[in-house]
Symmetry: C2
Subunit: 332 residues, 2 copies
């Protein structure tokens, strides 16, 4: 097992359980970035940290908190999964820039500046207009850079994303999305965004959420891996990894919370539709964390060298974690 | 300077400013335990941490956050004061035991189980009845032991204090009080409490707040140091240090907040009185942090050996910090 590449999944939102933690061990997942807030305000987000503290106390042989890149190696050495925390929206900081350092101290390592809609900081990918990064957004980017909280633009709109890449003094991430050249969903990213992201030292995590896949639930592994090869050419093989967006064992109420939060009293179907409002079916080659070895094989079959497979499976994320999570003024 | 004993003051509540931080450097204070909550609920307490983060950013050459015992030595090496945080009441955890680990992660290292009044956990020293540690109190003691948050019984009543000493699996502290054999204030502690505290490996911090001093503001340094010598005989010279309770540059509204919080609409004068409701005048030999060298001389004059002076000035607190702040299951 110590011979296999480090595996990092940079986005999941499961209904966490011992079953899933054991599946992560079976799939050799050394680290996972888990979403703990979509629309949660500060106190609600703290309650999510509390729930994770309970899990760490209960299953110390399966999981451990991830604060620093070195925790990925510690997890690997002790046959556990390191859990890194992130928010898909900026709601946890409410209107208080001081909460950024507080939440970083509690373990937050990624925060999206907007989730589908306009936020206090940036525009989401479903808005008709995208006026770019706001005044508060500029201050928050600076503060996130200072403390070591990674800017994630997965659900943000084009102009806001390009501006965030430009304004941020540290590389940013799009933890879970695919290129729109392959599948033109609103959530997927243009060549321009991907190129700028790559040039700035940022990272893209490939999503395995069916709405982001060409062919949806019927997408074939080889097609997915060929897309990865094309994206590597576009932005550099050092700039890509996975952010599966795996949403396992969640009831359909959860997708409604993700999409509607408290911002509407009506139903917003997001990437779904009235006919298919729930979670889509995963492709049969990626049902859960046990399927990572198959994805790894797919990369080899698509022609990636062993070195590049190691990079894409987790080496690139690990290098990104190393340069991203520490306060800007301290040495890593 | 590297020859002087380590100096730790295990309780202050100042109106913090660059002036006071510089006075701490002049007085050679390597570490201070600062109160950041009297009656503050969780979110208000987080705002206090945010204010301290701003101070750490603004005066990095004078102060640094104190998380572990090793930070005292780091502060000394870099000529700064390490700031350790504590609460004088259990209000920051509200009714949620999960907040203990959250607040420990944010930097809390001491929490009183009650402040003068009955709390959810224990009884305060001004209540007529003291039914001892409550059901939730027992759970909280166990959790504080687990995460490394020190139980402080400075403002608690006798029975609750004795029970806390007994129930806690790790030594507890009375960070700021004096023996009642010297000055029988309600806030001072009985021989029985001090003896049990000493036997269990706990610590007493001597208070320099005039209401806790024999003779009040007119107390003489030699009388104070002779009392320390008697207390050392009672509980052991390894079990004592300072917790000055210095409340510097605070307006009198603050003493009202300390005493009345939101639990009464009338004025409670606490240790003061209608005629003297404000902060009492400090003794002229301890006006602020620059006076620590004088206190140190007083200990020598009272007959303490050089070794014991080193212990009382900070060595004992440092040893206590070393065994107290880490989670119970991990090695220090």
């Amino acid at each position: 097992m110590s011979q296999r590449p480090i595996r990092i999944d940079c986005l999941q939102y499961a209904n966490w359980s011992e079953k899933i933690f054991r599946q992560m061990r079976k799939g050799g997942v050394d680290a996972v970035h888990v979403t703990i807030a979509y629309h949660e305000l500060f106190r609600e987000t703290v309650a999510r940290f509390e729930e994770w503290n309970e899990r760490f106390e209960r299953w110390p042989e399966l999981i451990m908190p991830g604060y620093w890149a070195s925790d990925v190696e510690e997890a690997r050495r002790t046959d556990r999964t390191a859990i890194f925390f992130g928010f898909q929206n900026c709601s946890p900081i409410e209107d208080d820039i001081g909460l950024i350092e507080i939440l970083h101290r509690l373990g937050a390592r990624f925060m999206q500046l907007s989730y589908n809609n306009q936020s206090l900081l940036a525009t989401g990918c479903y808005e008709a207009e995208d006026p770019g990064i706001t005044r508060m957004g500029r201050e928050v980017i600076r503060e996130m850079n200072r403390v070591g909280l990674v800017i994630d633009m997965s659900h943000s709109a084009e102009r806001s994303t390009l501006e965030a890449i430009d304004l941020s003094e540290r590389p940013i991430a799009i933890t879970h999305a695919n290129p729109s050249f392959w599948h033109p969903a609103l959530r997927n990213k243009s060549d321009d965004v991907l190129r700028q992201l790559g040039r700035s030292g940022g990272m893209l995590g490939f999503s395995l959420y069916p709405h982001h896949l060409s062919g949806g639930s019927d997408c074939r592994l080889q097609d997915f891996c060929d897309m990865i090869a094309r994206t590597a050419e576009l932005m550099g093989v050092e700039r890509i990894g996975f952010g599966s967006d795996l949403v396992q064992d969640q009831p359909d109420e959860v997708v409604e919370w993700m999409r509607c939060g408290r911002w509407t009293k009506r139903v917003d179907y997001g990437e779904g539709s009235r006919d298919a409002p729930g979670f889509p079916k995963q492709p049969d080659w990626f049902r859960d964390n046990r399927d990572w070895p198959g994805v790894e094989k797919g990369l080899r079959k698509a022609g990636f060298s062993e070195e590049d497979v190691v990079r894409i499976m987790g080496g690139n994320w690990l290098a990104f974690y190393e340069k991203s999570f520490r306060p800007a003024t301290r040495a890593t």
